[in-house]
Amino acid sequence: MLPTLRRVLAGILLTAALAPAGAAETTDGPSGRMQVVRVLTMRDYNTRVVVVGVSLLGLAAGLIGCFMLLRERALLGDALSHATLPGIALAFILMTALGGSGKSLAGLLIGGTVSGVIGVAAILLVVHLTRIKEDAALGIVLSVFFGLGVVILGVIQSLELGQAAGLKSFIYGKTASMVFSDALTTGVAAGLVILVCLLLYKELTLLCFDPGFAQAQGWPVVLLDVVLMALVVVVTVIGLQAVGLVLMVALLVIPPAAARFWTNHLPTMLLAAAVVGAGSGLVGALLSAVVPRLPAGAVIVVAAGGFFAISLVFGRARGLLHRLRQQRRLARTVAHQHLLRAMYELSEPPTAASAPATSLRFEQLLGQRTWSARQLRRTLRAAVKQGLIATADGDTGYVLTPAGRQAAWRVARNHRLWELYLITHADIAPSHVDRDADEVEHVLDPVLLERLEALLSRQYPDLATPPSPHRLERIAALAGAAGGTGG
């Protein structure tokens, strides 16, 4: 867990360090440089407020997003954030009509929360009461509610109520105008999310991984779902101002999806998602403060996208490189074991186990399987380095060392046990078992071997080194002949 974390942190710091450096080149002149330094050291009060607020938002969204991702409801946040628009616009009209300023943030956010909750309820209703599937229900609520919001905004515009322009900031976000109270609100919301996640950690985990089991165990699944939704609503509504409702879903989806590449362990994933979320907020806020005209919300999302791309490639648990490495390691092991078995089978028939091992020529080995010369040479080199195979006859021949002979015997035995099992118990013709056994010989574990031995011990007396069901001498002779004529 710790090395994972260290890598995540290192990656984030690296990106954070590189990204503003790249941005710095776009501003020129000494005054520009000064400005960059000022921003990066957060000497401005405003920058500090924005950076802290946005980072906290990213942290909270990352945390709660993990549970949403695992609950397979990643895109619910999208519908939810779009569904807040009519509420915000209506709240504006209502507050103006009542003689208020219409711009009271709390009032607007309450309106957004109400219509967001109605939107989520509508999704659940449509899914439960009709044959419409969840994806279409999300799309319906998203587009219809947003359309409704646009309609009400249109009314507000043509009424010329003034100050209406501020409402647009909910659509695209207006990070730079964040003030201290906004950061405080975000902080409180983030604290709430962290607290609930800690208190209900076990319950939420259960809900995400096995809701059926949770229900059977008597947990209030519906209530837990409602709590989860409520947290998402809180985070979304708080985040509207910062990144806007179109992109809010990015903060809920991307950090958890990125964190998932680094770990298979939920607490680590939560931590990593929080770090990625906060990191994206940090990078985005700083970058947009350095480069003029850069929309902060969009930069935050692109920064999160960058973290996602890095995680996709380098993630330690599911990243592409990691998986590639695993695949290659497996391929090497398989090739290695195939080589050992080939040498064992070539040298087995004429010589007893105690006799000195025969030296085999490269061509002989090459004829034993369908492998390329390059592949064989590489595998041979690795095996020689491991001390399982030694060169003989002045580097023209290869011979199994005692350790190699032991390993080769084990692989050959696995292979033959499986072949015998297939012949006796699966009723497969001896000519057809070799391919199957080829695949299984590498993965037989001791427990399985024991059971195979128990199953086969009655029919086959010599299980220590069972005979091959094929005529190996012939194969070996043929290979030898081919190698002989070739050489």
Partner: protein
């Protein structure tokens, strides 16, 4: 902006064009939407319509013009890339489909926003325009065809509609099979993946063509909502396509009317609002209405079916009770309690099956016939369970009680034949004979007039 001063409602040629633009774009979207909804890929439309933003911006930056073709190509390519990226992240990165979509389209949209903002001096593109379009302005941008000034948006919308119709008509069978059963499609030699990408390309092209006039929000609404509404109304794909197109056109027409008129209903005279938004909201209203009132799958209809069934069972149970009371020699009187039973008694009385005497209820001759049929079914089932299953005599009543309501004359006859026409059930009760052709199913009852005459 909307033509803000339309004091009284007045239909102008302008309005006709606006409705036409909306209807053509909406119909083009709705055609594809049916396939998206059936394949559970509705949100791909959402993703693509957001993700084309950077494509538009780049095409504009590179070509320096708002020429339709360049924009169409640029955005179409990005739309296809969105599909490929999403697929790739989903398969290679093993990220859940929804999340993969969310990652890809938000990042692309954000990149688009940044591109537009950074080149604000050169790009005459407004993110607002992308989100909710400027359908009210489309009639002003016209092309001269013959002696007509036709708005460009009408031509674009019509073209896309034509393209979609053509592709769907030509590949109807292939698209249909791949939508319902991709595995079957593959075994039949149809390339389901190719169909998928073809569909996504069409979605991208349609989105891009429509975005300028109606905005992406209307595109998403029209891709999903009419098709989902049609899905509630029919089980046939061909009909679903037709219905969704009609719904889309209706939303466009009524949406425009409502955009002009609706503010007036709230006492805001001289105010009109965003047409595209209203069209989207209208399609949502149509969906809501369908959800409640649809003939077979609507909530009301399902509620009604359930109530109807409950009432029939109450009626039949009542007849059974009265019959058994008579049979046991007790006074065949029954006082109905509860709304459902009272309603059942009332219905049976109207039909002439029971007679209300002094606040109690008795069977008439006709009712006795019906009841005998029901009780016969019940006891035959008990006999059947007693003979053919290992259920004990104390466990056969409940299943028989349930089955008696769904046993028609034919089934009753076969039941009796297979049991060798038993006289009594396992409890020893006499099974009423079937000499009179009046088994349980109400359909085969004699006409009402007979009942009345019997009663008299």
């Amino acid at each position: 902006m909307t033509p803000a001063v339309i004091a009284a409602f007045e239909w102008l040629p302008l309005d006709t064009w606006i409705v036409m633009v909306g209807a053509l774009s909406a119909a083009a979207c709705a055609l594809l939407g049916s396939f998206l909804v059936l394949r559970k890929m509705s949100l791909m439309g959402d993703a693509i319509s957001h993700a084309v933003l950077p494509g538009l911006a780049l095409a504009f930056l590179l070509s320096g013009s708002r020429s339709g073709v360049v924009m169409l190509v640029g955005a179409g390519l990005v739309g296809l890339l969105t599909t490929l990226f999403t697929e790739w992240v989903h398969r290679t990165g093993k990220v859940e489909q929804g999340a993969a979509m969310g990652v890809v389209f938000t990042v692309l949209f954000a990149i688009g926003l940044i591109l537009i903002r950074l080149s604000a001096d050169h790009v005459d593109l407004d993110p607002d325009c992308v989100l909710y379009g400027a359908i009210e302005l489309t009639p002003l941008d016209t092309l001269r065809i013959g002696s007509w000034d036709v708005p460009r948006a009408v031509l674009v919308g019509g073209g896309v509609l034509l393209l979609n119709t053509l592709v769907i008509a030509l590949l109807y069978k292939e698209l249909k099979i791949s939508a319902f059963d991709p595995a079957l499609a593959t075994t039949l030699g149809i390339n389901a993946r190719l169909m998928h990408y073809l569909l996504m390309t069409l979605v991208a092209i349609t989105t891009v063509a429509a975005f300028e006039s109606v905005g992406s929000i209307l595109v998403i609404a029209m891709l999903i909502v009419p098709a989902a509404t049609a899905h509630l109304l029919t089980d046939r794909l061909s009909l679903m396509l037709l219905v969704s197109v009609l719904l889309a056109v209706a939303s466009a027409l009524v949406g425009h009317l409502a955009a002009i008129l609706a503010p007036g209903w709230f006492g805001l005279t001289g105010v009109s609002t965003n047409t595209a938004g209203m069209m989207a909201a209208l399609s949502g209203l149509l969906f809501g209405l369908t959800m409640v009132f649809a003939p077979r799958r609507g909530l009301l209809s399902r509620l009604w079916q359930r109530a109807d069934l409950a009432l029939r069972i109450a009626r039949e149970d009542l007849l059974g009770i009265l019959f058994r009371l008579e049979e046991s020699g007790r006074p065949p009187r029954y006082r109905a309690q509860g709304l459902l039973r009272r309603l059942a008694v009332w219905q049976l009385g109207r039909r002439g099956s029971v007679l209300a005497v002094g606040g109690t209820t008795q069977l008439t001759e006709r009712g006795r016939l019906e009841a005998a049929g029901l009780v016969r079914s019940h006891r035959l089932w008990e006999a059947y369970f007693g003979t053919h299953t290992s259920l004990g005599p104390d466990h056969i009543h409940h299943p028989a009680e349930r089955l008696e309501h769904v046993t028609d004359a034919g089934l009753q006859r076969r039941l009796a034949t297979s049991l060798g026409d038993p006289v009594t059930d396992p409890h020893g009760a006499v099974i009423p004979p079937a000499d009179k052709p009046a088994p349980s199913a109400e359909k085969s009852l004699p006409p009402k007039a007979t009942g009345r005459r019997l009663e008299q």
